[in-house]
């Protein structure tokens, strides 16, 4: 059993945004024959749109801009509790405060499709204050692709 779909896969935007969607519920995607459902990206906020129920923002890592959505509406989250890992409204509201233009963020969450495009439904939004963290993330993405994500699953 491939366990890659259980973890937040560290991906560059160019990699994430070219995943192949599978028609499953909840949503899942294929990368090199392996299923992924969650991702982790690190980049700079280049766009931000706050509404009553959600905060939509774009994270630019230089290879692409990843659309992210952070739901702020607690009732909505409860009604759609496909995952017990979704943040509560209060947590989401706190996380939304760090989403400012020009800040470096780490975003983890479920990969979803919205209007035909891939986006991340954020579970964690973390402000990264050390600029070297982004460089480390690049190297981790390259390393994990080589040593794990690109490896074929052993046949059973």
């Amino acid at each position: 059993m491939d366990s890659l779909h259980l973890v937040h896969v560290k991906l560059l935007a160019a990699d994430l945004l070219t995943l192949t969607p599978r028609h499953t519920s909840p949503a899942s995607f294929v990368r090199g024959g392996r299923t992924v459902a969650r991702a982790e990206v690190v980049g700079v906020v280049v766009s931000r749109d706050r509404r009553e129920k959600f905060l939509r923002f774009l994270v630019d890592d230089g290879t692409g801009c990843v659309p992210c959505i952070l739901w702020l509406n607690h009732q909505y989250l409860n009604a759609n509790s496909s995952s017990d890992s979704d943040p509560t409204g209060e947590m989401a509201s706190k996380m939304s405060e760090v989403v400012r233009l020009g800040t470096l963020l780490r975003v983890r969450g479920r990969i979803v499709m919205y209007r035909g495009a891939i986006q991340i439904a954020a579970r964690d939004v973390v402000l990264e204050e050390d600029p070297n963290v982004e460089v480390l993330h690049w190297l981790q993405c390259v390393h994990m692709a080589k040593e794990c994500y690109d490896l074929a699953l052993p046949s059973v």
């Binding site: 280049v46 801009c65 233009l101 600029p131 690049w138 692709a145």
Partner: protein
Amino acid sequence: MASSTLKPGVPITLQELEPSSEIFKQGASLRVTGILQSYDVDSAVAVIQDGSAMLKVDTQHLRDISFRSGSMFQFIGELLIRPDDDVILQARVGRNVDGLDLNLYQQSLIIRRQHEARLLSSRRA
């Protein structure tokens, strides 16, 4: 939000930004990094430097940034090439990146580009 079609600011070194380069294009979306040499309050134009290379950055759209000479800054924006190859980056966002290991950054950029190229060729295959 502006649009999910916003182009990513491709990270480059200031040394790479020369007229013969592929990235030297009108409107190119770039991410540049350098040490602040000067900042003109009236025009909001900053000049950043990396080694012997320098670049002007128009920061009029940026807010909440304290421009200190000698600090390192990173900007994402579009390249504006004026007559006589006078170049300025029109910044959309910017941040202070004091503490960034620029040598590590540049070496990692090379590794990352190789990874991106592999990714692209595997998608085409």
